[in-house]
Symmetry: C2
């Protein structure tokens, strides 16, 4: 274990006109009517014991997208995930060690894969927890744990999470990204609840239904949900071909 002071000295010595570039991934999912982001507790300086996004340095021969995929594979055990670049954060002092520019990404998974990622890497990273995002207050992103406990977030990662949420909120209106939060088969209620969770407000049941059916983005499977104590809803699939057109 080395001190933060030692860290700073070691990094400063190698700093010239080149900088380090990292990729930080906001892994998002929807559960219990809210958005959740995956964070882990940092085991080392700097920001030790604070909560941080999974991330890693970009390798020399590796594209940014590849780095994001690698981070998801190594730190969350996930492959073939919907992932897109978000924004690049480059304030000179965002990392106390040296100049580190972070290219933010966001990834969207259904709750099953999210739980897998949550459980997968307890050996490598000390802990990973689910953090519901409750909205902004005074311009700053607020993260809450189970009992509305404010999280102590490392670096500028709260800002990155906030930017990710803002981005998918906007994108939900014109891009078929809600499906990424759902399993292969889902009911229209599931889809609407995803949208409500992302947007943070209730949506009209019938309008949502009509809009989605008219969009051609979903295809009925003929199957129905099971083990419900009411009329079972039909199960739909995401119509990826239509989404491209």
């Amino acid at each position: 274990m080395i001190s933060e002071r030692q860290f700073l000295r070691a990094y400063d010595a190698s700093a010239f006109d080149r900088v380090s570039v990292t990729v930080d991934v906001v892994l998002l999912s929807v559960a219990d009517g809210g958005l959740h982001a995956l964070v882990h507790r940092r085991a080392e300086h700097p920001c030790r014991d604070k909560w941080a996004l999974p991330g890693g340095f970009v390798q020399l021969a590796e594209s940014l997208d590849a780095a994001a995929a690698r981070v998801l594979r190594d730190k969350a055990g996930l492959e073939d995930v919907f992932v897109e670049q978000l924004y690049t954060f480059g304030e000179p002092c965002r990392d106390p060690r040296t100049r580190v520019i972070s290219v933010g990404y966001y990834a969207l998974v259904d709750i099953t894969r999210f739980e897998q990622a949550h459980a997968a890497r307890e050996d490598v990273i000390s802990a990973q927890i689910v953090v519901p995002w409750k909205g902004e207050r005074g311009g700053a992103v607020q993260l809450f744990g189970d009992q509305k406990q404010t999280l102590d977030v490392a670096f500028d990662h709260a800002e990155i999470i906030g930017a990710a949420v803002k981005r998918i909120r906007g994108k939900l209106g014109y891009a078929p990204i809600g499906f990424e939060f759902l399993p292969k088969r889902f009911t229209l209620l599931d889809l609407r609840q995803v949208h409500e969770a992302v947007l943070g407000r209730r949506l009209n049941k019938d309008s949502f239904r009509r809009t989605v059916l008219a969009s051609g983005l979903v295809r009925a499977t003929g199957q129905r949900e099971r083990a419900v104590d009411h009329r079972p809803a039909e199960l739909f699939r995401f119509n990826r071909k239509e989404a491209r057109a």
Copy 2:
């Protein structure tokens, strides 16, 4: 003058796990019913004589936004410009010298300032020309000069320009960015022509008028345009206060 070969050797020698980060700015304006981007002819290797975006390396103690503002000041003679981060381009071989990651920015100015930027720096950069953007063909961005001459664009800068155009096209629908292309006072025809140029299609005259007036984003000045051989239109101003709300 040194050769491309010398360049590669010099840069390879200093390459380890850190990378260079540049900022490239797509300076856009609207004229003659089309979007124009500012590019200059590179005087040095690599990509000598090809057309490139104004850009520069990010300094160690400088934020990304500050780097973009510096590039605009030094290479285009512009200050206080609307500028926003676009996307970060990081393919390993996008620069033949070494690993260079480029944070793309876009800046929007009215045609007067664009002409200023065009004329300002002929001493430093060999030439700067206006490039109308005509649309995509086969997925790749096509750049045309005066006589539909396809430009030979340096690095992946055609991709960056294409991304900028796509971004402002989408953003025009929900953000007040069309005003950035206009002088302080403008007619509603001016504003509509800006929107048409950006979107690449005609808009309904009356609907546009009603929508804009109802948005509260413009404030009538009471003045009218002059020296036109028809009924003069009223001059409006961008209502920045309303835009924030």
